[in-house]
Symmetry: C2
Subunit: 511 residues, 2 copies
């Protein structure tokens, strides 16, 4: 089980099939395999050995597919970096993973000096941008030109394939360790379930550094489909790409799905090739589902629930289960073919259907641990089950309903935001005495980040000033979209902030 | 990745779905899971610990499914025994595997004392037959009644799941070691390819101890379908079962497929539920394919090529590639989604398309080795590839054509027969000076076993007498169906018997 296997199969079965399309640029599997073998040679020449980490900071492009395959070909480990992070967050992931080489596009330019200063062990930055190559970086195309192809080390099984950083409750991201076995299992299982269809023309519309889009990359890579990329999501870009390249499948977060079906330009495009949209992150509302079914007749919707720690998913709500008005539309579906799912109480005893507890899952797709975090790993994987931190219940037919999150986490536009991290940033402002960050329902983003702040006696700070302060510390999407200055936070008898009370107080006020 | 996962999922998703049907007997997944947990308890009470081997010698039945699941549930290792072997062969597999417990039906009765005498370490025989329970055996139903259900040990991944004995070139069978990872990978990949359809009503028509049928068992077990069994293949039994239980999928060897489509009773049955027949062992002829397409319109045929060492298969010829008159119908199809396939020369260098060499394959489905045979294991798995012992070539689109077998092996009616084993048996007759065993083309069986024998000077022995002698030593299906008494065998300069010359001599004579 190794992730370059699909590339070898394509080279044998269909060398002249188109492997990647990025704008006007397209290449066959034969061309891709040669570039991958040469890029792996370049990695070797740069001192990359088996098990070394290689990071990627860039928008969606065909380079991402070359990077994934070439890293696996060299026996190394991918570290896809969130493009919406600021320099400190990126530096943290690069330092924590010990990445020696970073591929980067124009996104890095404003942060380049800062990142270099903060990541002393970073040996090389490979420039994958189109123009304006910064000094001191290596040119991607020149590296591929100059290096000879090397044989695939065919490293797989229990070998580490990737470190995927996800937000952490302590305010620092954790590197989720996924092996070749994890990822191949996930791809085969998801392919069997037709989460997206095998051997398809897949559009990377969501960010490729995301576990969600990566699951689409995996199925396409394992079954030998065509990867189409748009640099970033916009309804216009996605609709154009679907029409131009006869895209059959894509994966979106619900916010993107809504923007797509509500786009005025929708009717101007020929979307007849589109068969299937996978989505995840949160259930889709009846209203959006009905608009989607009207706007995209014949397109099947499939929901998946999971997290990076599960090589993305554990349950699926199948296309035939997407019935407007059905209560199951509020569920996350049932266990996928490669997973087992359960609900446990605080003592890790399994609960019967109907009872609410923490959602746990296990199977060949379950991460082997968090990078350099044995305690967090032991806690997350106790008793051999991945503890998701989400609260939920199962019904009598095995449908899973997510009712709350144990981890204090907000999902906004498909991104995880840990409240603690935002609270830590707020608390560093000299005027802030106490604060609490919660997620509030949002029509467009699923949830939005909201903060309640108590100021220190005798100080003054506006909501705008507090937001500007937070933005200097963490990525923009994590900053509170609204801030209430309050006299006091609701606290429990033991002094713990009652976030549920805060949420309810806010909701009753706005209704 | 553990093989009881599908059972747990069914218990959660569809406890009232029918899991097994054997004649009039049927049970739901809820009932099956309870019986499995109790049978695993019984195994524990009989002293079975993790990693211990449990053997099964019996015709197809629902007990087979209970045996598989209960053994995995207990963390033990299955050892399905070929029902066509004689007592010595069975004793060899039981001794070599060190099986402590054997489940057996009426097949064992005539050999019981002999097996007991030859397998001193066999502690318990569990009687799964309907009536006539032999003295000193344990009753299957009583064991399930008397024991309490135990929790699933959920042993999986690299843990051994089964020892599957296949004929050996040295005359002794080798135990192919397959892990949970091997078997789950194979099931997910084959399910993704739709070798048989997931969540199906699957008919076990071929012997369940066979790797071929076992691959159907795996897909059905992983995706939660219904297992229908007939004790043994006959057109009448298969046709009745398809009609009675609305069977959707089955796996046959070409001989069975031919017998089925040529059966006079075919038109008397409602076969409208049947969607899919997987077959393997050898390509199907144009004539049979056309008869199948005529007799079973709307039934898709899918061919798989492989061997037990590959958790059954490495390539597949898909339904849409079954075009009468197409030269690709003579191929074994292309690499499956979980495998990589190649052709190498005698120095293990990969050969380009068109060149004939030994077929090799690798992937997560590749066996971990032969039980207690480190040298044979190292040889078979050299350079990380499974060497199949079959000669073949690839075409420019990755289709694999099998041209000959390196291993001196005959496939008759889907069973592997190693020439050496038959030659060893023949040579033990006092009148035999030299002999050579080859496979000759056979309309019904694919190949049939043929022997050429040189008698010792001054001795006399008829073909019938030689066959009777061989039958006392090895299974009936391995005995030569025809024997020529000849003056001399064709030999090479180095004294090696030229089997190809023998085959050609015979074929030219009969044409």
């Amino acid at each position: 089980m190794y992730l370059t296997q699909g590339l070898h199969r394509c080279l044998q079965k269909q060398p002249d099939t188109i492997a990647t399309i990025a704008g006007e640029r397209r290449q066959t599997y034969r061309m891709l395999a040669l570039r991958v073998a040469k890029l792996a040679g370049a990695f070797g020449a740069l001192g990359i050995a088996r098990g070394d980490r290689i990071a990627y900071l860039g928008l969606n492009s065909d380079c991402y597919t070359e990077f994934y395959f070439a890293t696996f070909w060299a026996g190394a480990v991918v570290n896809p970096v969130n493009t919406r992070w600021n320099a400190s967050e990126i530096a943290y992931a690069l330092n924590d993973s010990g990445s020696r080489v970073l591929l980067a596009d124009a996104i890095i330019v404003p942060m380049l000096d800062e990142i270099r200063a903060m990541v002393p062990d970073l040996r090389h930055i490979i420039w994958i941008g189109d123009s304006g190559q910064p000094d001191g970086t290596l040119d991607y195309e020149a590296l591929i030109d100059e290096n000879l192809p090397v044989p695939d080390v065919r490293c797989g099984g229990e070998a580490l394939a990737g470190l995927f950083y996800t937000g952490g409750t302590t305010g620092f991201p954790k590197g989720v360790m996924l092996t070749h076995r994890n990822l191949v299992t996930s791809a085969l299982g998801a392919g069997l379930m037709r989460f997206i269809h095998p051997a398809t023309t897949f559009l990377h519309a969501a960010p490729m550094f995301h576990a969600g889009d990566f699951s689409g990359w995996l199925i396409t890579a394992v079954t030998g489909g065509t990867h189409v990329t748009v640099p970033a999501f916009s309804p216009q870009a996605v609709l154009s790409a679907i029409e131009a390249h006869r895209v059959t499948d894509t994966i979106l977060v619900p916010t993107m799905l809504q923007m797509l079906v509500d786009a005025r330009e929708l009717k101007d495009f020929d979307l007849s090739s589109l068969r299937h949209i996978g989505y995840g992150g949160s259930p889709v509302s009846d209203a959006i589902l009905m608009r989607a079914q009207q706007a995209l007749p014949g397109v099947a919707l499939c929901q998946a629930y999971g997290q990076t720690e599960l090589s993305t998913f554990a349950t699926m709500l199948m296309p035939e289960e997407h019935i407007p008005g059905s209560p199951r539309l509020r569920s996350a579906g049932r266990a996928v073919v490669h997973a087992e799912v359960g609900v446990v109480d605080a003592d890790d005893h399994f609960l019967p259907a109907g009872k609410i507890g923490e959602i746990v899952a296990r199977g060949g797709h379950m991460m082997v641990g968090y990078w350099n975090k044995p305690e967090e790993t032991a806690l997350a994987l106790r008793n051999g089950w991945l503890h998701t931190g989400d609260m939920g219940r199962l019904d009598d037919d095995g449908y899973l309903y997510i009712v709350d999150r144990l981890k204090d986490m907000i999902i906004t536009g498909g991104e995880n935001v840990f409240s603690t991290e935002v609270e830590n940033a707020l608390a560093r402002h000299p005027a802030v005495a106490a604060c609490a960050v919660i997620g509030l329902p949002d029509e467009k983003w699923g949830e939005r980040v909201h903060a309640a702040v108590v100021l220190k006696h005798g100080t003054v700070a506006s909501a705008g000033e507090l937001r500007d302060h937070v933005k200097t510390l963490i990525a923009g999407y994590k900053c509170p979209q609204s801030i209430d200055i309050v006299d006091a936070l609701p606290v429990s008898g033991t002094g713990k902030v009652l976030k549920r009370a805060l949420r309810e107080r806010h909701l009753s006020r706005t209704n």
